[in-house]
Every structure is written in structure tokens, then in C-alpha cells.
């Protein structure tokens, strides 16, 4: 293993310390428990938007803390969900009296840890809601799996909702928007290499020179399928077709109902993409794939969308939700309307994403 680290045990902490020093105008980092929060938190009267997940996906989530995006992010160990006390303490530290919205990626660990944090925060008297992001079309069914994973759409949902919170949406309206944004996102990813979790010291899986993994998540894990390596255009076609042809997806999830202070099961449907839809297109590097290769993929994605009558309104190209140094990429299309597009364009000022300000 060759990495720019001092020790696997101190890696996450030292990286966060570095980020805090690099961006003192934007973020602060709290330890024991660990969370990254806006330098100007709490923003009074604003709903606090909090996300979190394992480390190793940088810049997500800590790099998206700041004006117009997240109020706090809770990083776990590498690829390991954070613990409930992190979200609970972050919520207490950054809430501005208008409630807290948790944005949660759909992984068993993230969901359970956020559920416990929700219960703790509620017991403390905080007004709390949470929305699940589950956009990975590589997972076909929700009956025989944990349900679709939260991947690329998470970044877009955090941007859109962060802008809405900044604009003064109240908790109910923000929750509705977050759910709508999440339901309209679809992603699919692939890997050319695995990656090495520092504590483990060797790659999570081995992939031959002529092979690729298709339908991966963001934790360096193997995907749905191992296939012979193909040219970039074929890969772009395969990923974009999986997204464009994805039928309606229905799942039942557990959501915290702030009005009754209890969990309730709700059924949600993602409608398929249709001719005439407008989207934000996101081509993401898993960490080790250079920008130039992402543009090769985008070139083809743009053609595929045009062929299907999908209008790409905005693009985001780069490493935003990564798996350490894994080579590979994911494509995300998120259907937008005027409201979401306006929020996408709104100013954002975070270590990892910045425009308009």
C-alpha cells in the first residue's frame, strides 16, 4: 500500500484537521464526536441541513459544508457509517431554531445510525425530519435487497436542498423538496480498479487487466457484474442506457413523522425518464479517473440524452463522490423543474463546490 498517510488510525482525523486549517473561513471541525460544521453556524431561523456517511468519499460530505449547502457533515471511519452521537451532537450544535433535516444515503448502516440519531434528537426536543437518497439503478429490486444505494444523486440533492434552506424554506417544504429531488435522481457506476482501505492495506478486490466491475457502489466493493473491459463509448452507453431505460421504481421506506413523533412506512415511486425531460447531468470520478476521461464519457452521454429527447440543462463533471483512489466513474441524471434548476444555480460556497459567490 502506497498512500500519503501517517497511519491508518489517524488518517481520518488528520485529513479533517487539514481541511479545517485550509478553509477556516468556511468550516470548523469538532472532535469527540466528529463533525464538520459551517463556520457561521448556527444560522438563526434557517433549517439546518445535515448529512453524513463513511469517510473516503471526499469531497462528500464534509467538503459540501458551507453557505448554500450543508450546515454539518458527520464523517465515519473509512467507508463506515458514522455513529448516532455524531449526528445528534451536530444537530444540537448547528440548528438555528427552525428544525433539522437529515439527508441519508440508503445503506443499512447509515439508515440505522441516522434512525437512532433521529430518536435522540427528537427526545432532546429538536424538530427533525429525514429524507433517504436511493438512486443506484444497478440495484433492480427493493424486495430482495436492502433497496437502491444512495450514490451520485446525493451530491445534487445536497446542493439543491442546501440552496432551498439558505433561501428560507421551512422544514416541511424543504423535506418535500428533498424527497422530490431524491426521487428524480438515477445513477449507475463502474470500476476499473478496486481501492485500498488504509486499515486493511490491500485492495478490497482484485480485478484483472482486461476486466471491469459494473454496478458498483461507493465503498470499493465489487459490483453487480464483472465484465470484459470495453471502450469508453460502450461503457458510457451501457451506463446511460441503464439509467434512461430504468422503469418506474417503487420502494417502501421508513420515515420519521415529526407530527406524530413516530416511524411510518411510506411507499415512494421514481417515475422513469421520458422524452422532453430536463436534467442535471453529473459525470463523477470514483477518485482515480482523470477529468479528461470523464469528458470522453460525457461526450457520449450527451449524445445518448439527445437521442432520447432528454435535455441536459446543467452539468457537473469531476470527482465529487469518490471511493478513495478507485479508478472508475458514475453517471447521474436528475430530472429538474424550474424550481430545482433555480436552486441549482443559486450561490454556493463550500470547500468542494463553489459558484455565484
Amino acid at each position: 500500500m502506497k498512500k500519503l498517510i501517517n497511519s491508518p488510525n489517524t488518517f481520518v482525523r488528520e485529513s479533517l484537521e487539514g481541511m479545517a486549517r485550509a478553509h477556516p473561513d468556511l468550516v470548523r471541525v469538532h472532535f469527540d464526536p466528529t463533525f464538520v460544521y459551517r463556520a457561521d453556524a448556527p444560522v438563526l431561523g434557517k433549517v439546518a441541513l445535515i448529512s453524513g456517511g463513511g469517510s473516503g468519499h471526499e469531497p462528500m460530505h464534509g467538503g459540501f459544508v458551507g453557505h448554500g449547502m450543508l450546515d454539518a457533515a458527520c464523517p465515519g471511519e473509512v467507508f463506515t457509517s458514522p455513529t448516532p452521537d455524531q449526528m445528534h451532537e451536530a444537530a444540537k450544535a448547528v440548528h438555528g431554531g427552525a428544525g433539522v433535516l437529515f439527508l441519508v444515503k440508503n445503506y443499512a448502516g447509515d439508515v440505522m445510525n441516522f434512525e437512532m440519531a433521529t430518536e435522540l434528537a427528537h427526545a432532546e426536543g429538536l424538530q427533525i425530519a429525514s429524507v433517504l437518497v436511493d438512486d443506484d439503478v444497478a440495484v433492480k429490486d427493493s424486495l430482495y435487497t436492502q433497496g437502491r444505494r444512495g450514490v451520485g444523486a446525493t451530491v445534487l440533492v445536497e446542493k439543491i436542498c442546501g440552496a432551498a434552506a439558505q433561501k428560507g424554506y421551512d422544514l416541511a417544504r424543504l423535506t418535500t423538496l428533498a424527497r422530490r429531488a431524491a426521487l428524480n435522481g438515477r445513477s449507475m457506476g463502474m470500476a476499473l480498479t478496486s481501492c485500498t482501505v488504509p486499515a486493511k492495506g490491500s485492495p478490497t478486490f482484485e480485478l484483472g487487466e482486461g476486466e471491469m466491475e459494473v454496478g458498483i457502489g461507493i465503498h470499493g466493493e465489487p459490483g453487480r457484474q464483472r465484465m470484459p473491459l470495453a471502450p469508453a463509448d460502450s461503457i458510457a452507453d451501457m451506463l446511460s442506457q441503464a439509467i434512461l431505460d430504468d422503469p418506474a421504481y417503487t420502494r417502501t421506506i421508513r420515515e420519521w413523522d415529526p407530527s406524530t413523533a413516530a416511524w411510518k412506512e411510506i411507499s415512494l415511486v421514481s417515475e422513469p425518464l421520458r422524452r422532453g425531460d430536463r436534467v442535471v447531468a453529473f459525470v463523477n470520478s470514483m477518485g482515480g479517473t482523470p477529468l479528461a476521461e470523464l469528458y470522453v464519457l460525457y461526450r457520449r452521454l450527451d449524445e445518448a440524452c439527445a437521442g432520447s429527447g432528454i435535455h441536459i440543462e446543467r452539468t457537473l463533471i469531476g470527482p465529487y463522490i469518490t471511493s478513495l483512489e478507485m479508478q472508475g466513474a458514475s453517471l447521474t441524471l436528475l430530472r429538474v423543474d424550474d424550481e430545482m434548476l433555480g436552486l441549482w444555480d443559486a450561490p454556493v460556497k463550500t470547500p468542494g463546490l463553489r459558484w455565484g459567490i
Binding site: M116, Q146, G220, P222
Partner: protein, 218 residues
């Protein structure tokens, strides 16, 4: 050691110590199992959690069994992360609830403790048997313990039956296709691999058996 067939506070402490030893020793093996069908962290997560528990042991010595188990649950929830943290954490909290105020547990009470632990895991994770999770080790263990109990077996034989059933449950996860947890994303590719969480669960039960029964002529 009492002559009575009970499980006392000292044995709970010994259990936690032995569990910490076992999970430390199995750290890399559990992580390898998780690398095959998950994200290569289960061994680290469990080791981190039980080293935290180990560090608490000196502060637990004056507490009743319920309080000890509650501290363990809270420590696991606050240090393990991932799926295993809330699952084992909730399991220990439920076990604490049915042993609160107790200085020692009868064989029946041990059965209730194990049952409560399983109920906590299921309540939090909503996995049913056959989903290729820790539930597939814990469920047969609880059932085997119960069966041994009702046929009049003492504490140690019943715990031995639980350990045997858990280990068989672990092996039974190999041909299963996962439908819960991270491994479920692999679909059919999860078949042929042993579940890491079931494996750690069997280790915990084995540590309990050793703590109670070493030196006893079962």
C-alpha cells in the same frame, strides 16, 4: 465461583474481556469475509467497539448486570458504526432492559437475555432468518438454548448447545443469497461466502460460553 448454576457479574465481565480478545484475534479474518461481500470493515468495526468496551471494564465492576450491559450497548453504538454498531448496540440495550438490577442470572434469565438481544437486533435491522445476516447465527442459538433449557440441561450444556447452533448457523449462511445489508447488492454473487456478522455473532456466544464454563465441569 458459586455452586449454584448461575451467571454472575464477574462472568459478564469475563465474557466481555474474552469477546474483546476473540474479536481482536479475528479482526483480519472478519474483515476478509467482509471484503468478499461487503466493504472490508467488519473486523475493524467490531475490534474498535470491543476495545472500547474493554476500556470501560474497570468502571463496570460495581454495577449490576443490567447496567453493565447498558454501558456495553451505549459503547458499541458510539464506537462501532456501520450496520453492526446499531444492531449489536440495540441488542445489548434490550438485554440490559431484561436484566436490570440483577446481580446474577438463572439459566432461564440467561435465556431471556439472549432472546432480548435477538429481538433488539431484529427490531433494529428487520432481517428475517435466511437473509444472510447475524440473525442467522443468533436465531438458532436462542432456539437451541431454549430447547436445552426445557429438557432440563444446566447453564453450560445449554450455552454449549447455543454455540454449536450458532456455528452451524454461520456455515448455513454460505449458500444463502443475501437480501439484507450491503451483501444484498451483490445479488447471486453473495452466494458461496460466509457472512461476517453471523461469524462475529458466533464468536460473541462462544466467549460467553467460555466465560461461564471454563473451570466448571459442565
Amino acid at each position: 465461583m458459586t455452586d449454584r448454576d448461575t451467571l454472575g457479574r464477574k462472568e459478564i465481565a469475563a465474557w466481555l474481556e474474552l469477546a474483546a480478545d476473540a474479536l481482536q484475534a479475528a479482526r483480519d479474518a472478519l474483515t476478509e469475509l467482509d471484503a468478499a461481500i461487503g466493504d472490508a470493515d467488519h473486523g475493524f468495526n467490531m475490534d474498535r467497539g470491543f476495545q472500547k468496551v474493554r476500556s470501560l471494564l474497570p468502571t463496570l465492576s460495581q454495577q449490576d448486570i443490567g447496567s453493565m450491559l447498558k454501558s456495553v450497548g451505549m459503547a458499541l453504538i458510539g464506537s462501532v458504526g456501520g450496520a453492526a454498531g446499531p444492531l449489536y448496540g440495540t441488542g445489548f440495550l434490550r438485554a440490559a432492559a431484561v436484566t436490570s438490577g440483577q446481580q446474577e442470572l438463572s439459566p432461564e434469565a440467561v435465556g431471556s437475555m439472549l432472546k432480548a438481544m435477538l429481538a433488539g437486533i431484529v427490531e433494529r435491522g428487520r432481517a428475517t432468518p435466511g437473509a444472510k445476516t447475524m440473525v442467522d447465527a443468533m436465531t438458532p442459538a436462542v432456539e437451541a438454548y431454549d430447547r436445552a433449557q426445557t429438557t432440563g440441561a444446566g447453564l453450560c450444556p445449554a450455552l454449549q448447545a447455543a454455540v454449536d447452533a450458532a456455528e452451524e448457523g454461520v456455515r448455513a449462511t454460505i449458500p444463502m443469497q443475501a437480501t439484507k445489508g450491503r451483501a444484498s447488492y451483490l445479488g447471486e454473487r453473495s452466494i458461496g461466502h460466509q457472512d461476517p456478522g453471523a461469524t462475529s455473532c458466533a464468536l460473541l456466544l462462544k466467549a460467553l460460553h467460555s466465560a461461564v464454563c471454563r473451570g466448571r465441569n459442565a
